[in-house]
C-alpha cells in the first residue's frame, strides 16, 4: 500500500518541482504527508474509487440506461443486490442497474469536481496574483469586486443561469467554477503580497521583465503549494454544490446521473424497502468527500508555510 502511495506522491511532487520550486522543499512536504496516516489512507481509498469508476464498467452486465423489465416497478422484490442477476448493487425503481449508475455518477461527480476546481483555480490564481502584484488602486478595485461578488447568494444565481442557458453538465461546471474562484483569489492575493517584495522579483523587475511575465513565471509557480492545498479542499465543495443542484433536479439530466441525483432517487424511494438505492451512492459520496478533506488537510500540514 505504502509503495503505491509513494509512487503517486512522487509523481505529484515531480510535477510540482518542474515548476521551479526547490527539490528539498517538496521532498520535505512529501515526507510529512506520508507521516500523516489519515491523509495517506485517504489518498489510497480515493485512488481506489477513481480506478473503480474506470475499471468497473468492464465487469458490468447491464449498462447505466438499460432497463431490466423484470425488475421494473418491483425493485423491492426482484431488484435487490445479487451476483446472479448481474445487479451487484441492485436496481433502481425503473429497473436500471445501480452498479452501472453508481459508476456513471461517480465519473460525472468527480469530473465536475475536478473541472470546476480547475476553472476556479485558474481564474482565482491569475486574478489574485494580478491584484496582489499590481497593488494600489487596481488592487483595491479588484478586491472590492470580489467583496461584492462574495455577498451574492451564488446558488440562486447558478440556478438562474441553469434555467436561462439550459440545463447541461457543461453549463453546470462552468457556472460553479466561475462562482467559486473568489476564495481562491483572496488567498492567492495575500500570498502574492508576501512574495512581491522578495529579492528575486526585484531582480526580475530590474532586468526589465514585463509584469505579465513576472506574474506567470515567477509569482504563480511560487504559489503552487498553497494553490494545491486549496484546490484539494475546493473539489469536495464543488462536488457538494453539484450534488445539491442535481438533488433539486436541476443539474445532470436523465439518463445521465451523478451522486446528488442518485441520492435523491434513493431517498425518494426509502419507504419501499429499497434502502440499497440510497446506501450505495451515499457510501461513495460520503467516503470520497472524507478522503478529499483528509487529503486537503494533509497537504496543508505538509505545505502550508505557516507550519514551517
Amino acid at each position: 500500500m505504502i509503495v503505491a502511495n509513494k509512487k503517486k506522491i512522487k509523481d505529484m511532487a515531480e510535477n510540482f518541482s518542474e515548476s521551479g520550486a526547490g527539490r528539498s522543499l517538496w521532498k520535505d512536504a512529501r515526507i510529512r504527508f506520508i507521516q500523516n496516516k489519515a491523509a495517506t489512507i485517504s489518498l489510497f481509498v480515493l485512488l481506489a474509487i477513481v480506478s473503480f469508476s474506470f475499471i468497473g464498467p468492464y465487469f458490468a452486465v447491464w449498462s447505466y440506461e438499460q432497463i431490466d423489465w423484470n425488475a421494473m416497478g418491483s425493485a423491492a422484490r426482484v431488484g435487490m443486490p445479487s451476483i446472479e442477476s448481474g445487479h451487484y448493487f441492485g436496481t433502481d425503481d425503473l429497473g436500471r442497474d445501480l452498479y452501472s449508475r453508481v459508476i456513471q455518477g461517480t465519473q460525472i461527480s468527480l469530473m465536475v469536481g475536478v473541472l470546476g476546481a480547475s476553472v476556479a483555480v485558474i481564474v482565482g490564481t491569475l486574478y489574485g496574483a494580478t491584484s496582489g502584484y499590481l497593488g494600489g488602486k487596481t488592487d483595491q478595485i479588484m478586491m472590492r469586486i470580489v467583496d461584492i461578488l462574495m455577498s451574492i447568494p451564488y446558488m440562486f444565481v447558478l440556478i438562474l443561469l441553469l434555467v436561462v442557458f439550459g440545463r447541461s453538465i457543461g453549463m453546470l461546471f462552468i457556472g460553479i467554477g466561475l462562482l467559486s474562484w473568489l476564495d481562491m483569489s483572496r488567498i492567492v492575493r495575500g500570498q502574492t503580497l508576501n512574495l512581491k517584495n522578495k529579492e528575486f522579483i526585484e531582480a526580475a523587475k530590474v532586468t526589465g521583465v514585463s509584469d505579465f511575465k513576472i506574474i506567470t513565471r515567477h509569482i504563480v509557480p511560487n504559489l503552487l503549494g498553497i494553490v494545491a492545498v486549496y484546490a484539494t479542499l475546493l473539489v469536495p465543495g464543488i462536488i457538494l454544490a453539484e450534488s445539491f443542484i442535481s438533488f433539486l433536479g436541476l443539474g445532470v439530466q436523465e439518463p445521465s446521473t451523478s451522486w446528488g441525483a442518485l441520492i435523491k432517487e434513493g431517498s425518494g424511494t426509502i419507504s419501499y424497502d429499497t434502502e440499497w438505492q440510497l446506501l450505495f451512492p451515499l457510501a461513495f459520496f460520503v467516503v470520497s468527500l472524507f478522503c478529499f478533506y483528509f487529503i486537503g488537510d494533509g497537504l496543508r500540514d505538509a505545505l502550508d508555510p505557516k507550519e514551517r
Binding site: 461584492i148 455577498s151 434555467v163 433539486l248 436541476l250 434513493g266 431517498s267 426509502i270 478533506y293
Partner: protein, 307 residues
C-alpha cells in the same frame, strides 16, 4: 466608525444594483420570451400581452421601470405564469416560513456551536474534544440534502415521532427536522472555528499573565478569552447566513414546508423568470444587509479594523 459605516454602505448599494442588473440581464438573455409556449400564440395576442407587461419597450426602459418599481413601491411585478398572482404575493407567502425556520436554525447553529467549540478548546484532548472534532468532520460530509432523508428515516419511518413534512402553521413538531437538517453543518463549522481560535487565544501571553496573577478561571474566560476568540466566528456569520438561505431551498423541497425555496424551484422548472428574479433579489438584498451587519459588528468589537 462613522466613516467606516458610510464606506461599508457604499459597497452594499452597488452590490445590490449589480445583482439586480445581472439577474435582469440574464432574464432577457434567455432564449424565447416568457410567453413562448408549445402552442404559439397569434402574433396580435402576443403583442397585446407584451404591451400589457411593458415588454415591447426598449430593454433599458424596462430595466428603469423595474428598478423604480422596486425602489419606490417595493413592487416586483406580476408573475408570468400565474396571471392572478404578483411576485410580491408569492414572496409574502413563502418568506415568513423561511424566516421562521431560518431564524431557529441560526440560533441553533450559534447556540450549540459556540459552547461546543469552547468546551472542546478548554478541555482539549479529552473525550468531549474528540467528540466535537469528530462531529464537525462528520457534519462536513453530511450536507443538508443527506441529513434530510436520514432524519426522515430515523424519526418518521423508524421511530414515528415526527411528521415527515408539512408546515401546519409552524408548530414545533414540524420545525424540529428542518431546523436540525439545516443547522447541523453550520453548527459544526462554528464549533470548529470557535475551538481553533479559542486555542490560539488560550496560548497567548496575556492569558498566561492573567493566570499567573491568580485570576479565577471564570473571570479569565469571560473577560479575556471569550471576546477575542469570537472574532473569527463573527466573520463566519456572513457565509453561514448565505449557506442557510441556500439550504432553505432544499428544506422547502424535502420537507414541503412551503417557504421561498419551494416557489423558487417551482419557478425554475416553469421558467417563471419574474418570480425567480424577485426571490433572487430579495434573498440577495437580505444577504447583503446581513453581511453589512456582521461587518459592522466586527468593527465594533475589534477597533483595529479600519479600512
Amino acid at each position: 466608525m462613522i466613516n467606516y459605516i458610510i464606506k461599508r454602505i457604499g459597497i452594499a448599494i452597488p452590490t445590490l444594483l449589480i445583482l439586480i442588473a445581472v439577474s435582469f440581464y440574464l432574464m432577457h438573455a434567455a432564449p424565447g420570451g416568457p410567453f413562448t409556449s408549445e402552442r404559439p400564440l397569434p402574433p396580435q395576442v402576443l403583442a397585446n400581452i407584451e404591451a400589457k407587461y411593458g415588454l415591447d419597450q426598449p430593454i433599458w426602459r424596462q430595466m428603469i421601470n423595474y428598478l423604480s418599481g422596486i425602489i419606490t413601491e417595493f413592487d416586483f411585478g406580476p408573475s408570468y405564469k400565474y396571471h392572478d398572482r404578483t411576485v410580491n404575493e408569492i414572496i409574502g407567502r413563502g418568506f415568513p416560513i423561511t424566516l421562521k425556520y431560518g431564524f431557529w436554525s441560526f440560533i441553533a447553529a450559534i447556540g450549540v456551536g459556540i459552547p461546543l467549540g469552547a468546551i472542546a478548546a478548554i478541555r482539549k484532548n479529552t473525550w468531549i474534544d474528540y467528540l466535537a472534532v469528530g462531529v464537525s468532520i462528520g457534519a462536513q460530509v453530511l450536507p443538508n440534502f443527506v441529513m434530510a432523508p436520514l432524519l426522515i428515516i430515523v424519526f418518521t419511518l423508524w421511530l414515528d415521532w415526527l411528521p415527515g413534512g408539512g408546515w401546519n402553521g409552524g408548530s414545533w413538531e414540524y420545525l424540529v427536522m428542518p431546523v436540525i437538517a439545516l443547522s447541523t453543518s453550520y453548527m459544526a463549522s462554528i464549533a470548529r472555528i470557535t475551538r481553533s481560535s479559542m486555542l490560539e487565544v488560550l496560548n497567548t501571553n496575556y492569558i498566561r499573565t492573567a493566570k499567573s496573577k491568580g485570576l479565577p478561571t471564570k473571570v479569565i474566560f469571560f473577560r479575556h478569552v471569550l471576546k477575542p476568540s469570537l472574532l473569527p466566528v463573527i466573520s463566519y456569520l456572513g457565509p453561514a447566513f448565505v449557506g442557510l438561505i441556500t439550504g432553505s431551498v432544499l428544506i422547502d423541497i424535502y420537507f414541503s414546508t412551503g417557504g421561498m425555496g419551494y416557489f423558487f424551484v417551482n419557478a425554475a422548472f416553469n421558467r417563471d423568470y419574474s418570480v425567480m428574479m424577485g426571490i433572487t433579489i430579495v434573498v440577495g438584498g437580505l444577504t447583503i444587509l446581513f453581511s453589512l451587519i456582521a461587518d459592522l459588528l466586527y468593527a465594533w468589537i475589534d477597533p483595529k479594523i479600519r479600512y
